[in-house]
Amino acid sequence: MALAIGIILGCCALGAGICMGIGAVGPGIGEGNAVSKACEAIGRQPEAKGDVTSTMIMGCAIAETTGIYSLVVAILLIFVAPSTFIGILEKTVKTLSESGIKL
């Protein structure tokens, strides 16, 4: 039982780390692209700096969405998932031992 709980905790932590690590790549590349293009646009047309900046920030915020999703999933994995999974495990073990199956 202790081993199973340990595996659950470790896998949750590992999953959160992988989720955040891979999930941060996409928005990073996307936002980098957006900002580089915005810099080019400002260099070409310095008088349109205000418009370009506000549009870029909007675009960045939207590109960030997937990263935020992975952040939410990672936070759920760290703070919510372990207790839920351990609860499920204990319930299953209880029902199994009640029905006579020995683990």
Binding site: M58, T65, I68, V72, F79
Partner: protein
């Protein structure tokens, strides 16, 4: 017109300012009275504290810190508005009138450039969303729980936006609204429904995730600084070893980005997305066609009578 210099005017002014400040003080007092500070890091990152529960037939209704704080923000903004609009005159003789005029003009300009003249009446709504969102995020500076780092509060605003989007879509006709789900071919219907639901979900998650990530990183860095300073000063005897001297200053620099910049940015982005979603999904041509048809019908009826 009221005399600006009179004692009565000044007393009402003081009342309004008190009304704007007292909710925050009360929220901080509630936090200090009821909160038991957690020992570990995960206690500090845990969600909103539940103050008490109201018994309900299906499930108990918990009144959480986030709800109380957001009500405090609403009351405070209400009194601030009263303060800013107190003693208005045609020729501005108070500084606060200039601020109020600037706010109104800016939001009206923003709404008109982004939503078009049909949605001109939306300026107060957008200003309210922006103000509540910004104030809620800035509440983290007072050391209390920011309502925007609880998803329930932000999801409420997102659902409001979703209702408005659907309402304006239905203005182009119920048949057209339902037909929109079957485009480009009928097989896409489930995906279209999913896309419709994804708008409020993504709006809520974006705002909540950004604010929450800031507070999580702040707590982690504060804990790390405490650890480092206990390593550096731990060999000193007595209370000298317990002083987390590295915690002074550095978290404040991060707070400038995570609380002030990110909070105001998210308020702007949430308001912007609300505007773009409402006006972008509104079928202008169909609405005008329907309007013309309705008017023609009405005219016919009147003629027949």
């Amino acid at each position: 017109m009221e005399n600006v210099k009179s004692i009565r005017f000044k007393l009402v002014d003081i009342l309004y300012i008190l009304g704007a400040i007292v909710p925050f003080v009360m929220v901080m007092a509630l936090k200090i009275i009821l909160n038991v500070p957690g020992e570990s890091i995960s206690d500090n990152i845990a969600g909103a504290m539940i103050y008490f529960q109201i018994p309900m037939p299906l499930q108990n209704l918990p009144i959480t810190e986030a709800q109380v704080n957001s009500v405090a923000v609403i009351v405070s903004i209400f009194f601030l508005c009263l303060y800013f609009t107190h003693g208005l005159s045609v020729k501005a003789n108070l500084k606060r009138q200039l601020i109020a005029e600037w706010i109104v003009k800016t939001t009206q300009g923003l709404v008109e450039t982004n939503m078009g003249s049909f949605f001109k009446g939306y300026a107060p709504f957008i200003a309210a969303i922006m103000g509540i969102s910004a104030f809620s995020s800035l509440m983290a500076l007072l050391g209390v729980f920011a309502p925007t780092s609880d998803i329930n509060i932000v999801a409420g605003w997102a659902i409001l936006t979703f209702a408005l989007i659907t309402y304006y879509k239905l203005k182009g006709g119920v048949f057209n609204y339902l037909k929109g789900f079957l485009e480009p071919i009928f097989v896409m219907a489930p995906l279209n429904v999913l896309g419709e639901v994804a708008t409020p979900v993504s709006m809520a998650f974006r705002h909540y995730g950004n604010v929450l990530s800031g507070s999580v990183i702040s707590v982690l860095i504060a804990a790390a600084l405490q650890g480092v300073s206990s390593i550096v000063l731990g060999w000193l005897p007595g209370f000298l070893g317990d002083i987390p001297f590295l915690q002074i200053g550095l978290p404040a620099v991060l707070s400038v980005y995570f609380d002030i910049f990110s909070g105001c940015m998210q308020a702007y982005i949430f308001a912007m997305l609300t505007m773009l979603n409402i006006s972008g999904n509104f079928p202008q041509e169909e609405y005008e066609k329907r309007l013309l048809k309705k008017q023609a019908k009405k005219a016919k009826k009147i003629k027949n009578i």
